[in-house]
């Protein structure tokens, strides 16, 4: 095959053609389409924006409900000291009434393990001067 040099050839065009009157028709088509396209795009966008704001607001409100609850209950809750003072000075509640209110588990928790060894008892007793009196009595 003979040498082919692009620069030596006469200009080769792409060969692509268009239907007759295509560009005029295209202009018309676009002119009819574009302003609508524009306003549509804007309205969809601003609507979407509005919805997103609404959704965000609802989300914030929903998320703040537990926080709000916590804040309000916290403020109305009595602190330990006030409660104890009230029970001690102002109420006719006896110790037995309180024990009745406690569950078995609670009572067990209240048990204090003193962990007293025999030796400690002996030491204590040997130091006590009145021990003989106690024994004889």
């Amino acid at each position: 095959m003979k040498e082919f040099k692009l620069d030596n050839e006469p200009k080769i065009t792409s060969g692509f053609t268009t239907p007759e009157g295509y560009f005029d028709a295209f202009s018309e088509k676009m002119m009819a389409k574009l302003p609508k396209e524009e306003s549509k795009v804007i309205s969809i966008f601003s609507n979407r924006k509005r919805w997103m704001f609404a959704a965000a607001a609802i989300l914030v409100l929903a998320l703040s409900v537990p926080i709000f609850n916590k804040l309000t209950t916290n403020s109305s809750e009595l602190d330990q000291q006030t409660l104890e003072d009230y029970i001690t000075y102002n109420s006719g509640i006896s110790e037995n009434d309180l024990v009745d209110l406690l569950e078995k588990e609670d009572i067990e928790k209240m048990n204090v393990d003193y962990n007293i060894q025999d030796k400690d008892v002996e030491d204590l007793l040997s130091q006590n001067n009145n021990i003989e009196q106690y024994i004889t009595n």
């Binding site: 095959m1 792409s14 060969g15 002119m31 574009l34």
Partner: protein, 180 residues
């Protein structure tokens, strides 16, 4: 450049928009069509992509900063739209864009909107075998006669790299045409 800024203002102002857009279409629809057609090859596809291009231009005009020329900005949109289009079309058909483009070029004779002789078909076939970037550079330089400086602004590639690409493309094409 000042003229272009005024023109963009006219395009954005609802009062002057219609006239300005008509001018935009008059000035750019033909070169953009051919740019797109050279990439997507088929008339109906080029028509679709050209519409999308103008819609995008219109939508994004308010964000156009004037950092580049309107011309290169529009070409950039058209190029991106065309490449996205052929990739999506290839994906839909379960093939690659290279295989699809070769197929279209092989059937160019049957295309009612193609009027070319043997050498034109040979050239199209050879171009379709080049890597994507070289194809683009070759088509823009040879078919569309866009200057390297403008091409550089459109494609974001240096003039030197574009010249090298074109040079490689021409060498390969001459080889392919010779052996075919």
């Amino acid at each position: 450049m000042q003229d272009e800024k005024d023109f963009i203002k006219e395009l954005l102002d609802p009062k002057t928009q219609n006239v300005a857009f008509q001018k935009l279409l008059r000035d750019y629809q033909k070169p953009l069509y051919h740019h797109i057609r050279n990439i997507v090859l088929n008339h109906d596809d080029a028509d679709d992509v050209l519409q999308n291009t103008f819609v995008k231009v219109f939508q994004h005009l308010k964000n156009f900063k004037g950092e580049s020329k309107l011309f290169s900005w529009m070409y950039r949109i058209a190029t991106n739209e065309s490449i996205t289009f052929i990739n999506q079309k290839a994906k839909r058909n379960g093939t690659t864009s290279e295989v699809m483009q070769t197929k279209i070029v092989d059937n160019l004779k049957a295309d009612v909107y193609f009027d070319g002789n043997e050498i034109q078909i040979k050239l199209q076939k050879a171009v379709a075998l080049l890597p994507e970037k070289q194809q683009l550079v070759f088509k823009m330089k040879y078919y569309e006669e866009i200057k390297y400086e403008e091409m550089s602004e459109i494609l974001g590639t240096s003039v030197g790299a574009l010249k090298a690409s074109y040079h490689h493309a021409v060498k390969k094409i001459e080889e392919l045409v010779k052996t075919n």
